[in-house]
Point group: C2
Amino acid sequence: MRISELSAATQVPVATLKYYLREGLLPAGTSTSRTQARYDASHVDRVRLIRALLESAGLTLARVRQVLEVLDGPEVSRHHLLGTAQQAITPEPPEHPDAEWTRVAIQFVDRRGWQIPPDEPLLVLLGEQLRSAVAAGVEPADETMLDPYADVADQLAAIDVQSVPEAPERALRQVAVGTLLTDPLILTLRRLAQQALSAERATR
Amino acid sequence: MRISELSAATQVPVATLKYYLREGLLPAGTSTSRTQARYDASHVDRVRLIRALLESAGLTLARVRQVLEVLDGPEVSRHHLLGTAQQAITPEPPEHPDAEWTRVAIQFVDRRGWQIPPDEPLLVLLGEQLRSAVAAGVEPADETMLDPYADVADQLAAIDVQSVPEAPERALRQVAVGTLLTDPLILTLRRLAQQALSAERATR
């Protein structure tokens, strides 16, 4: 298909598609003349993925590029797959973290029995998010606040790991893209479930 | 305390505090002279809340303003509390939603037995997020994808509603701020639990 047809199929303007091509987010099509190229179904999929990561997952263009680089990178073994996928889906840790709160996060995962290397950047992020919540007055004002959410996270991880396909490149996509795109769904469902529970109690 | 002391207590630069004052995010202090004012503990709390909403919850300044307006607004009855809190924590729905996917979302919450008014904006958001995930190839490629996450959302809502204090102004804060600030904690814990589960399987 031509770029105008790719635009019609994805509902993304031609100017935006050309921008993705220039930025290397979208692989070049097959040249048919000096100024024209042909695109195929893989381009439609890629454009949809870019739009989903930008709009639904709310990533910046720079982070979309990182995720796509991991997906396009060399094939990874099943063993390294999760680490590679997580590298793509983990936000940057803050620049000046509070070491005391990182220690609280390390002790928390230890107490849970989660085997996490103490230099894992997610622990810095967890410590900072906990510090923010405590500073803003969310209760209980210590790491015990995390317990009910960690129980929920264990269930989410079981769903996530269970749904990973055997083929490595599909598995990487499912873990990285699946986690990024179901994050916002979980937060929306949380709000709807709050409303449903509240409506149920009001009519009792 | 003076503005320099408020800055020291919150580790936020004076220039930034003056910006919050000009923008009305931070209430004015008590004037002590033409150019000086005194601030108290409530100002420290407010600055910490603004920082937490900006940094941990990742809200824009405009959305922080909306949340603070709700918290500072007239006292709400317990009955309207959740609706008011949710109004503050719900992202803007997309501008051109796909009506077909909104219908899928409405049918989904009906099937769950969640009592949600069909014109609830969260349903539009849910439909769009589902559309994005399906377009990007997350499986299963229909609304049954939502079932395991909705089970988790029911548990999250039970935790959220259980932890609401009796006093209305503290309750509003706990629901609005608590939900916004525990959203990122849940997503970080999800990634850590994925790692923990993967490490456990690798050593078995």
